[in-house]
Subunit: 363 residues, 2 copies
């Protein structure tokens, strides 16, 4: 049922992704104007992500009816296949943000969704199914939902679960999301619907993260309250360097909702990855869909990993920096398994593992 | 996940409908070649059923994408709206039969479904979506499923939850369901997949129950182990009389799986109900769909009620026999609320309240 109040009013808040999960949702990629070769290589990569998570917690895969029998027939262990019409497969962004209270109850936040920019700058049209992914997820989980008027994708914010939200100015202040809201109004609504007390505003996302205009979940993620990982680039000639430096300076200058200084752990990005001729060849060209052009640089980052129960699901790129990322995360999470997925095919669609997953907390 | 064993092998059995439920599933009626006036009057009746059940336990409504926003917008309390493609809205028959063990576990049985007779005598074509309703229900409930080869609709059997199954010969032996199976093979598979020990074979269903060829859930239902209600007709001139008499004689001649004689409580059917000219006027005529013809007699019966937690959801017909049915059921279930629904619109589509509901037991 749709509620008229806000989570903060009702004593609900968004837990950290590191809190225990009930399950993880994904959507199944399909659209041939974003994913090459009828999305078959991307589907293979998604399947690896699904199976890696399903080793650790239940997975629910939402599928358009057109792909339902294909996915059902995979008969994957610990994986539910549900019909869930979608325009593209980024459930981090279109899915529900689950909020909990201290009394074993859960509710959903069903943010407005406009395909990363609506008719002004959205990356596909229409987004009618995606705007109801969160409602369907809420109803499958039998929870009531809040429906803020504001446009926000789940990849645009991270929380420590203790009152702090982290976002990027690039995304949250972009004129194609909420042009009629001031920064203060956006901050207020983010806090109302996540139950947070303080918003930290990173200036930048990852260079060339143009689909999302710089989602925070590609550049910075909490690894504990008071501690974050940041995508880093040593080479001062690379445009990513300046972005990472500015974000680091910001993070070193602020305190979180509890008044703590933040510890920042750098994780170097992989070497520059660009779309090849071959990779761009078998993508449908459709008016209104963001094109994938040979030579375009992709926003590759290890920060776009996903925390599930007992594991980190980490994108790797067969890159010299892979080992550093694995080692750093293993040190940060000594009790977790680091499940690596070669994720170039997901990146080709514009995001990575964090973008295609959405957790449901355990209550 | 699809399992290769059977519930009986694994220690699972189908509980009685009277055991406590987690929730109830329905599908949303839509097809204009079965339901008059674009299904709008039927939808209004279904909505009353949904809201009556939702007073007592959670309800999940499965909806084709084409009707999703309409149903979501009703914002019904204690009701989840999930996308679930279907050909018609008889989830008793297309949905999963849930089975449980003694250790808090649940699984689903996903019977074969062929729209009550396949290409030989089915009442609509195709039934491709309906054949996966049970799988989708299982996955929404996060349970694994058994997939018997045999065709069986959920309305074709009732159990007392103590080892006895009751069916009709008319349905279970019809040549358009399982022509290659003997009566003994059908009995064996029914027992394997419901965990029962003994099948009772009523000779007849309700007169003119031609869609289903005489489903048991329109003529006889357990009200307790060892005790059933039976649709009755006093008038010996009415074709229903002979059917009820034969069924009564059978019931008085047998014992259940525990060796008990059965107590039979009669509930008189309503007066004859036929389709009016007006009711048949606004139904699309489609080749392959069972037609609704003015003057055709409908298989009206009070036995097609539904047991939910704390209530009986009872179809009534503004008929002189309504009061008797209400009184008898109230006496049989003194602790339950009798929720009456004027159900002529559901009957016009070929079934009634039991046919459109499917319980998920609480484990």
């Amino acid at each position: 049922m749709r509620l008229q109040s806000t989570p903060k009013q009702d004593g609900f808040y968004m837990p950290s992704e590191l809190a225990e999960h009930k399950c993880t949702y994904l959507l199944w990629p399909e659209r041939p104007d974003n994913w090459r070769m009828g999305a078959k290589p991307a589907q293979a990569a998604y399947k690896k992500v699904i199976e890696a998570i399903a080793k650790h917690e239940p997975v629910v895969v939402g599928v358009n009816q057109s792909q339902y029998l294909h996915v059902l027939g995979m008969n994957m262990k610990n994986v539910s296949v549900v019909e869930l019409s979608n325009n593209d497969a980024w459930i981090r962004d279109s899915g529900a943000t689950m909020v909990v209270n201290g009394h074993g109850e859960m509710r959903a936040v069903d943010w407005g969704f406009n395909a990363y920019g609506g008719t002004l700058d959205g990356i596909y049209f229409p987004w009618d199914f995606d705007d109801y992914v969160a409602a369907k997820m809420a109803d499958i989980e039998h929870v009531d939902r809040y429906v803020p008027e504001m446009i926000a994708e789940g990849g645009a914010f991270h929380t420590d679960g203790e009152g702090t939200l982290i976002v990027t100015e690039e995304t949250m202040l972009s004129e194609d999301r909420n042009p009629n809201m001031t920064r203060e109004e956006i901050e207020r609504d983010l806090c109302e619907y996540t139950g947070c007390e303080k918003v930290l505003w990173l200036p930048y996302g990852v260079y060339k993260d143009e689909d999302t205009e710089g989602h925070v979940d590609n550049i910075c993620q909490f690894v504990a309250p008071g501690k974050v990982v940041l995508a880093w680039e040593d080479n001062p000639e690379d445009p990513q360097h300046e972005r990472s430096v500015k974000d680091l300076e910001y993070l070193e200058s602020v305190t979180d909702a509890k008044g703590r200084k933040l510890e920042v752990v750098k994780i170097h990005v992989p070497n520059v990855i660009t779309i090849t001729e071959e990779e761009a060849e078998w993508i449908d060209t459709v008016e209104g869909t963001y094109p994938r052009i040979p030579g375009d640089r992709l926003p590759a980052s290890y920060i776009n990993y996903y925390n599930c129960n007992g594991a980190v699901i980490l994108p790797i790129f067969n890159d010299p920096h892979d080992e550093d990322a694995i080692r750093t995360l293993q040190e940060l999470f000594p009790d977790k398994v680091i499940e690596t997925i070669y994720a170039r095919e997901i990146l080709l669609g514009g995001g990575n593992i964090h973008c295609i997953t959405q957790q449901v907390p355990k209550v």
